[in-house]
């Protein structure tokens, strides 16, 4: 029997890769293994609806398609090592999985603060994480959110709407400042504070006990619940010793073929999702990881197409087509609806300016690098962003 294409990581990116492989004409066996027990599901509701209402796995699961009905899903199985020369992945139960081609889609896990356990400590990545937190977000609960990225701010908004008293503690000068820049971040903080979220900026947690967190300056903040939203680490440990470049995720070329520390790309090993560090010619030739929701779908489609061509004996027919996905992200916090395209974080320090509207209301903010638009963020605007999206895609300079 032919060894299967083995997809390690049974979430959105793995699912999209399997679907794309079928669309590329590959009819052989596909096996997907993942450490979560749930079939692939949509994560964005975890910081919002799942916390606020009775949402089950069925409500957030991706629809199954006929073309991938014969994919073998091995859930609750964690990969622990790989041997590329013999095409073998070993899982925690000791099973050895032989493969014809390997897709790395093991994603991220929340980074955690290094403190002893206490009741009410949470981080959110999985459905089970969200369900555990939901039980504790009761009216009147005192909640400290550590970290002020999009996830931290969304969690703060959701908890506040549920009647909790929420304080965000962050080392940053403003929430969401890295992707949005200080001007818009400052404006959004004001809006969140107006909704009742308290911020402690420039602060770090020095310790925590069962009743409170204590900041580095000695301030104690009472906390029934502590939510850690301080970023993510890549699940790449199982690839140690493989020779792949594991500097910040897993390095891939533009065809998403995994690249070794010697710079060689494997035609039979691919990287998908937010663990993939790959160059996007929409911006430059620098390989980057992008943790946006659209990336698992875009990279899964791409890897499936290239791998499908490789298995058919003509990898270059697909690999030679440039892959330039448009980064897109969204965030809902109270009535704030943010939508963004491109990579605003690439902007020059003085390259951030209002494109239309005004900061106090609906606004589109442009992010420029060397006078080229590389990102746009809209607050309360949607269709108005589309021409800017086009401008980012085509590398046009400011009109």
């Amino acid at each position: 029997m032919t060894a299967p294409v083995l997809i390690v990581g049974a979430a959105m990116g793995g699912l999209r890769t399997a679907e794309s492989l079928r669309r590329a004409g590959y009819t052989g066996p596909i096996r997907a293994i993942g450490d979560e027990v749930h079939a692939p599901y949509n994560r964005p509701p975890l910081s919002k609806d799942v916390l606020a209402t009775e949402v089950t796995h069925a409500a957030v699961a991706f629809p199954a398609r006929a073309e991938t009905a014969d994919v073998e899903w091995m859930l609750g199985a964690r990969a622990t090592s790989v041997d590329l020369p013999t095409h073998t992945v070993t899982t925690a139960d000791g099973h050895e999985h032989h493969y014809s081609a390997l897709v790395i889609a093991t994603g991220l896990r929340p980074r955690r603060l290094d403190f002893p356990p206490r009741a009410g400590r949470h981080a959110i990545r999985t459905l089970d994480d969200a369900l555990a937190l939901r039980a504790e977000l009761v009216p009147g609960a005192r909640v400290v959110v550590v970290g002020s990225g999009f996830l931290g701010c969304e969690l703060a908004a959701t908890a506040t709407k549920l009647g909790c008293a929420v304080t965000v503690v962050t080392p940053s000068v403003e929430p969401m400042v890295r992707p949005l820049g200080a001007m818009l971040a400052h404006e959004l903080r004001g809006r969140l504070e107006g909704e009742g979220v308290a911020f402690v900026l420039g602060a770090s947690v020095a310790s925590m006990d069962d009743d409170a967190v204590t900041l580095a300056d000695g301030t104690r903040i009472a906390a029934d619940v502590v939510i850690e939203a301080i970023g993510s680490d890549c699940n790449s440990e199982w690839l140690a010793g493989s020779g792949l470049d594991l500097t910040d995720g897993v390095l891939a070329d533009n065809a998403l073929r995994a690249v070794t520390v010697d710079g060689a790309a494997h035609d039979d090993v691919y990287v998908v999702g937010d663990i993939a560090r790959f160059p996007n010619p929409m911006f430059d030739d620098v390989a980057r990881r992008v943790e946006h929701w659209n990336i698992p779908t875009d990279t899964g489609r791409r890897a499936g197409a290239v791998l499908g061509a490789a298995l058919a004996g003509d990898v270059e027919s697909a690999a030679s087509i440039p892959f330039a996905p448009m980064p897109s992200f969204w965030s809902n916090q109270f009535d704030l609806k943010l939508q963004a395209y491109g990579l605003p974080g690439l902007a020059d320090p003085d390259g951030v300016r209002v494109l239309e509207g005004e900061l106090g209301g609906d606004v589109a903010v442009g992010y420029f690098r060397a006078e080229r638009l590389v990102g746009v963020v809209g607050v309360g605007l949607k269709a108005a962003l589309l021409p800017y999206r086009q401008q980012i895609a085509t590398g046009g300079t400011e009109a």
């Binding site: 999209r16 949509n42 509701p45 659209n294 897109s328 939508q339 949607k382």
Partner: protein, 64 residues
């Protein structure tokens, strides 16, 4: 052959990602609200499936 398309408007946040994948079916109107055609030719199935995939709210489905 036609396919039927349903958008759960209680989920839809009018992000408009579907518009890029299947402009024949989906559009944002001048009030930034999503409008769509509920029935389409079978030949558009691939585009509509792509629209289903890119909806962050997973609000779109093909009614089989």
């Amino acid at each position: 052959m036609t396919i039927k398309i349903d958008v759960d408007m209680s989920l839809c946040q009018h992000y408009g990602q579907c518009v890029f994948e299947a402009p024949e079916i989906f559009a944002l109107n001048e009030d930034d609200k999503l409008e769509y055609v509920a029935e389409a030719d079978e030949s558009l199935r691939g585009n509509v499936e792509n629209a289903v995939d890119v909806c962050p709210m997973q609000a779109i489905r093909i009614v089989e």
